[in-house]
Amino acid sequence: MIDWWQSLVAPFPPLLLTMAYMLVFILVLFACVAYATLAERRVLGFMQVRLGPNRVGPRGLGQPIADALKLMFKEMILPHDADRFLFRTAPLLSMAPAIAAWAVIPFSEHLNFADINAGLLYILAMTSLGVYGVIVAGWASNSKYALLGSLRSAAQIVAYEIAMGFALVGVLMASGSLNLGDIVMEQQGSIFNWYWLPLFPLFLTYLIAGIAETNRAPFDVVEGESEIVAGFHVEYSGMGFAMFFLAEYANIILISALTALLFLGGWLSPLEGIVPASVFHLPVIGALLGSGAHWFVAKTCFFIFCFLWFRATFPRYRYDQIMRLGWKVLLPVTLVWIVVEGVFLYLQLPPWFD
């Protein structure tokens, strides 16, 4: 099928093709983001023993489209004395990095946009840019609540980025590569060869820091509707608000995908090394059970579900508790585990570090 496709697209120049693929991918990503909002409302609904939105379309599946149409036709109100240009640019600043980071994410062994050597570093750089959207929005709104929200956000994101970075240092020590494809291939073997087991503290740290980076509950003091109304996007209405809303979900999907890649073996099948290898050569079941992009999607969906689950479960942290968790708990945990991992590497502990 791949050969057939390649002979079909052969007459087109490669640059044009890549652009077309990117366009298609971004449209798919936007659809996923829109339906993540529905998933969140439905999952939260069920967890709180109610139904959630189920009126628009079959089983509420038309809800994201209805929401998008509503927000598109709403007026975008410009606050008094707001910085016009920055006020309108801020939603784009928080959306763009979340999309740009997907450029280096491998979906399966040969399915990716850019296979670059410093992929992990690129991801880290892109996710660190997302904070500008929040800060600029808070400042340009000319509102004290928005400014307070963006100040909280800046401090929180900078603090958790360090713990996140150290968790990634652990991953690249174990894999010996910054290339995301190589990191996944290093985890080959069985489910027990994936990095979640030898790097378990770093795995938890990465997940928690990821939740804090995306400003999600229980670390959502940036919005904190009980204290500062809605934080940095309090002055936004219509499409501006919608962009921030979608950027949050785009970031959730990105962090989930990264956790799946770095700690849960990306597109590798969990059945590898457990069931006999001959199973993977069976006609249809073999392709389904064997490694492939569908496992990557499934693992990503699992982490997205975890994000929603945590929101329904934990009460919001107080601001000083967030700072304490970031600096005094997560950071020392990563530092200690990097030393432990160094010992593992020195001993060449099988099956991960040999």
Partner: protein
């Protein structure tokens, strides 16, 4: 080659324009954001030189962390625009002089034979800038690298010591104590006689 130079001139034009804008705009927050744009476009130019590690690190460290803190501080300033403009004409001659001296110095140094500027050769496809830098840093330049690390550590400790002072009257919470509190500490059951 044509595409490469087009990309180079495109980014250079943005770089120079945003650098000029950074020193000429009135609003400090806008100036900081222009500086962010300067860093970002210079990272793009470094990418053209196949120095992807440096380029991405520039974005990661300067744009992602340092400039955020800059913005953080500048945003909280109470900006009086009229006051800030007042000194502009007065300091202009001094600023121009310093600028010209720096430009001349750079011209003198860069025209030395040691800086014989040659077109960088294109690297083979499997060349990894990150790996090359890592190998150099941990072999040939290990001592300067470690010393730089120690100096940074000293700077961190100094900065923290400067800001740490014990306030005697401040009330603090101990989250560890709060979490480990049990029922016996908080609840006292008393049996009272009926009245």
């Amino acid at each position: 080659m044509l595409i490469q130079s087009t990309v180079f001139y495109f980014f250079s034009a943005i770089l120079v324009a945003s650098a000029l804008a950074m020193i000429s705009v009135r609003n400090p927050v806008h100036a900081v954001l222009f500086l962010v744009l300067v860093f970002f476009t210079s990272a793009a130019i470094w990418l053209l030189l196949e120095a992807e590690f440096l380029a991405i690190t520039l974005v990661l460290v300067y744009v992602g962390a340092v400039m955020v803190l800059f913005l953080f501080v500048v945003m909280m300033l109470d900006i009086n625009l009229a006051k800030m403009r007042a000194g502009f004409a007065r300091y202009l001659p001094v600023g121009l002089l310093v600028g010209i001296v720096m430009a001349v110095e750079m011209a003198v140094i860069l025209s030395r034979p040691a800086f014989d500027l040659q077109k960088p050769q294109a690297k083979p496809a499997d060349y990894s800038n990150t790996q090359e830098l890592g190998e150099l840093l941990f072999t040939e330049y290990i001592y300067p690298f470690e010393i730089a690390g120690v100096i940074l550590l000293v700077a961190i400790i100094a900065a923290i010591t400067l800001t740490m002072h014990k306030r005697t009257r401040a009330k603090r919470q101990s989250p560890a104590r709060q979490v480990s509190a049990d029922r016996a500490e908080r609840v006292r059951l008393v049996s009272m006689d009926k009245e």
